[in-house]
């Protein structure tokens, strides 16, 4: 029942003379463009866009959408990505007139409701993190890291301190070292021990007066709480360095423990993970950051501020922060994502947020318990919100890899877990069920894995069989890149 015709490329569907959008009469004089602009600046022939009717466009994109798995249609246990349910009320509320149609440069007096919302969400972020200074500006988690590292660098510059090194555990997200490089730091990788915790001997040997920041993901990418965190924080702080928390895994600890209370000086949130923003096929996200008071002067501007005066309360975008590192993007921030986060936090309430984490951790532990006899989980019998299984034994015994397993799961109607990350586990299969899945779904997933493991290796190498395509040739794609459509010769 696939419509193969409508999913041809837009350019192949194009037919001269078709069109969708039309404008009304302009009602004003219509001089020729040649009269208004220098000829050398004008297009000589029409832009090479496809010509389609509105019906063409609807059918094309609707059919394309059906080629995706998504949270709305499938269990999506992609580790480290927190693919939780995206509440529909958030979409409606973020699309209200007065929210979705605000211009970023309109006068503060005409956006008091929005600024109040943003001011309050800053407060919630500060409360959940235990870190009082908040910037809503960063556009994504990776930019949040970068922004916080810039704030740290500015702080050290102010102190006249020459600190050049950022320490990153080997299990960290790739964005950590990449962000450090962009702020001019050198990165040093700190080893993990067998159980996934930081190798304290290696850390002790590596921390000195050149250490600027230790970046840690806690709970870690293995889904484990680093219970040496206080010792780590003391060690780094005693040497004059700062602790950065990669907040990718905040879904495990809302209302249970706070980064500011376990030693972090700076962190980012991924509201599209923790606070239910839709992932949109790969973005947009947002990357608000929270910092300790002594780092607050360095945050980007503008900041959302509340002013209490004799005339009452009003909110503003504040630019008067002379020590600020400056802007890291245009305008205020990824407001659409932050409005959804606000709606989510208000719908959950403080108690509800704690229940989110409790259920995320309950679901993950239940799944771990059910899966571990089938697929070994090398680093521990308990976890936080996610865990990392390994297909290493399977590969040795049957020649079946983590990738084969992932591909076969697609045939069973499940999105695959994250595979081959973190790099510290061989044949890693990283599973994060989230709190918005039922026991029935988790049981069905376990049954699917059980069945897959009983299949012969060949079936798995051939998977997936039920999807429109199977095992695309990525080597060819990289060797002879074709990155746009061109008229066939």
């Amino acid at each position: 029942m696939r419509n193969m015709q409508a999913t041809q490329l837009l350019f192949e569907l194009s037919k001269p003379g078709r069109r969708a959008n039309r404008l009304p009469d302009s009602e004003v004089p219509q001089p020729d463009m040649q009269e208004l602009y220098p000829t050398a600046t004008l297009r000589q022939k029409p832009a090479g866009l496809p010509e389609l009717s509105e019906g063409d466009v609807i059918r094309h994109f609707t059919n394309l959408s059906t080629l995706n798995m998504s949270v709305d249609t499938h269990f999506y246990p992609l580790g480290s990505c927190t693919m939780k349910y995206n509440p529909k009320r958030n979409e409606r509320l973020a699309s209200l007139p007065g929210i979705v149609d605000l211009h970023p440069l309109q006068p503060d007096a005409t956006a008091q409701g929005m600024l109040e919302l943003l001011y309050n969400v800053q407060g919630y972020f500060a409360e959940i993190s235990g870190l009082p200074g908040v910037s809503l500006q960063p556009a994504a988690g990776a930019q949040g890291e970068l922004t916080a590292l810039m704030a740290a660098a500015a702080y050290f510059r102010d102190l006249g301190s020459q600190r050049t090194q950022v320490l990153v555990p080997d299990s960290a997200h790739g964005t950590n070292p990449a962000s450090a490089t962009m702020v001019g730091f050198q990165t040093k990788t700190i080893r993990s021990r067998e159980d996934g915790s930081v190798d304290m001997d290696h850390l002790r040997a590596s921390v000195d007066d050149s250490t600027a920041v230790f970046m840690i993901t806690n709970p870690s990418t293995l889904g484990l709480f680093e219970n040496q965190i206080q010792e780590i924080a003391d060690l780094v702080h005693d040497a004059g360095g700062l602790i950065y928390l990669d907040g990718a895994n905040m879904n495990a600890i809302l209302g249970i423990t706070r980064p500011g209370d376990f030693g972090a000086d700076m962190m980012h949130y991924n509201p599209h993970k923790t606070f239910s923003g839709p992932h949109g096929g790969g973005g947009p996200g947002a990357g608000p950051i929270c910092v300790r008071d002594f780092l607050e002067p360095y945050l980007p501007t503008p900041r959302v501020e509340r002013v209490d005066s004799a005339e009452g309360v009003h909110y503003r975008l504040g630019y008067d922060h002379p020590k600020s590192i400056g802007r890291v993007r245009s305008f205020v921030g990824n407001i659409g994502v932050l409005v959804r986060a606000y709606c989510y936090i208000r719908a959950c309430g403080g108690q509800g947020l704690k229940e989110v984490s409790e259920n995320a951790v309950l679901n993950a532990n239940y799944l771990l318990t059910q899966l571990a006899p089938l697929l070994p989980v090398p680093k521990g019998s308990r976890c936080m919100h996610e865990f990392v299984a390994s297909a290493s034994k399977l590969k040795k015994e049957k020649g079946v890899t983590a990738m084969d397993l992932a591909k076969r799961l697609l045939d069973f109607g499940f999105h695959a877990p994250t595979v081959y990350f973190p790099l510290t586990v061989q044949e890693a299969v990283m599973i994060e069920p989230t709190e918005t899945e039922s026991k029935e779904t988790l049981d069905a997933f376990v049954e699917a894995i059980r069945e897959i493991l009983s299949e012969d290796a060949e079936t798995l190498h051939d998977a997936p069989k039920t999807t429109r395509i199977s095992r695309p040739d990525e080597v060819q794609a990289a060797r002879k890149p074709v990155m746009k459509w061109t008229v066939s010769p």
């Binding site: 404008l23 208004l36 211009h103 956006a111 308990r382 890149p481």
Partner: protein, 456 residues
């Protein structure tokens, strides 16, 4: 709680299967002394109905573009968004999916990325587009970092001051941690002074940024400036406007090597500044260092045409501290919206939209400047969609607040970014504005408040 699944029975059964006495036990790896010993100070949960009332109330304290007549621009524009864009983009299969790590179940997103990349190349005249970055400003920064990485012996970046001031601020923020030197070029007439640019160019110049149209709305012939930059061995970065490309020459045709743009105008709502769409495209020679995701075409094992993420060895998850950028996500949803928007527009629709912006902005500028109080700040330039008006009475704040009280967001004061233009404001006119609204704005800015003024 609203979004949870587990019943009390589920919880009991699951804990039994785990072998834990309580949920609390699952958190035992977190030392007690690190626990939050109180409830979060966040108000109690709201039902959907309460939340809806609450957010509506907040929204009611704002004046949006729909509840006013919006002449604000400066990098974010009130263009019309066809219903089909909203209708398609909220489909859960697009909206609630993620990065296409499993291409077999992401062909919809991957094909859209490939189509988006093609559309961007068609408009910009470039060989390759990535699948988008955060916004126009960060795209410009990434373009500079890309250009400089290909010119390892050169250290200078030339930026005219008619490039969007916030983009220049962001560039400053990023470059302060490098040994690159940011050289600003003053543009007192609004347009780029080409001979001053030529004087600045030297063998240390790694790249030059040229904006078309520039921040003041002026359309400029950059052919000579781009050629001069190239003669000096510098990379030419264009900051383009995607709607204007319905009528204006592709930057690739006037000499740009890398093109960046803010894609908000392509079917994306204003939403107070973000998320937006960072567009970036380049010539083939830059692609191996280009930041961001790229979708490429290939075949599957049965020979079917399909799409995958490609050239990933550039990226942070593989290269870590040696990556070309720390960028991880793209703005998939807004790239999708841009692709839908451009499909609906086609060449004629985009051209007509650009023409309407030209005609209506010219009409308003001319009509305003018939008034003795106003004059165009840059009379020699050719403005498109946006123009700078000087108030001879030097009361921009008063004018704009009077207009606001009449339901008109009349323009942006330039004083925040250009103290020398404190008597000027920037007015933007999209295809959405009617003649009646343009006439009404002239009326409001010229006369005392008039009671019978109304707007749609």
């Amino acid at each position: 709680m609203a979004y949870l699944f587990n019943t009390e029975d589920d919880t009991r059964e699951m804990l039994a299967a785990i072998g834990a006495a309580s949920i609390e036990e699952l958190f035992s790896s977190i030392p007690q002394e690190l626990r939050l010993q109180r409830d979060l100070k966040i108000p109690a949960a709201m039902s959907e109905l309460e939340l809806t009332r609450h957010v509506r109330e907040l929204a009611g304290k704002n004046v949006g573009a729909e509840g006013s007549v919006c002449f604000l621009g400066g990098g974010a524009y009130d263009h019309f968004i066809p219903a089909a864009v909203d209708y398609l983009a909220v489909r859960g299969e697009f909206y609630t999916s993620y990065t296409p790590y499993q291409p077999e179940v992401s062909q919809g997103n991957l094909q859209v990325m490939f189509e988006y990349e093609t559309l961007i190349c068609q408009l910009t005249g470039m060989d390759v587009s990535n699948a988008s970055l955060y916004d126009g400003a960060t795209s410009m920064v990434e373009a500079v970092l890309l250009a400089m990485a290909t010119q390892p012996k050169r250290r200078r970046v030339i930026v005219p001051d008619n490039v969007h001031p916030e983009y220049r601020e962001v560039l400053q923020t990023y470059l302060q941690w490098t040994d690159y030197e940011l050289v600003s070029l003053a543009c007192p007439e609004g347009s780029l002074p080409v001979s001053e640019l030529e004087d600045l160019l030297d063998d240390q110049t790694g790249c030059v940024i040229l904006s078309q149209p520039n921040f003041f709305g002026l359309v400029e012939d950059h052919t000579a400036a781009a050629a001069a930059a190239k003669r000096a061995g510098a990379v030419v970065i264009a900051v383009a406007d995607m709607i204007s490309l319905g009528i204006l020459k592709s930057p690739g045709d006037w000499g740009a090597d890398i093109v960046v743009a803010e894609g908000q105008a392509l079917g994306n709502p204003l939403q107070f500044g973000g998320p937006y769409l960072g567009i970036m495209a380049c010539r083939d020679s830059f692609v191996r260092r280009m930041p961001g995701r790229i979708a490429g075409q290939t075949e599957d094992r049965n020979g079917s045409r399909c799409w995958v993420l490609t050239l990933q060895t550039r990226e942070q998850h593989i290269r870590r501290d040696k990556a070309t950028s720390n960028i991880c996500t793209n703005q998939g949803l807004f790239a999708l919206r841009a692709a839908i928007y451009l499909s609906l527009q086609g060449p004629d629709g985009l051209r007509e939209t650009a023409e309407h912006c030209a005609w209506k902005s010219q009409y308003l500028m001319n009509k305003l400047c018939l008034q003795s109080r106003f004059e165009p700040r840059f009379p020699s330039g050719s403005a498109w969609r946006e123009f700078v008006i000087r108030d001879r009475q030097d009361d921009v704040a008063g004018l704009l607040s009077r207009a606001a009280s009449q339901g008109m967001l009349a323009g942006l004061p330039l004083s925040r970014w250009y103290p020398e233009y404190s008597d000027c404001f920037l007015v933007a006119v999209t295809e959405k504005r009617t003649r009646a609204e343009l006439d009404a704005l002239v009326d409001v800015l010229t006369h005392a408040p008039s009671a019978e003024l109304s707007h749609a």
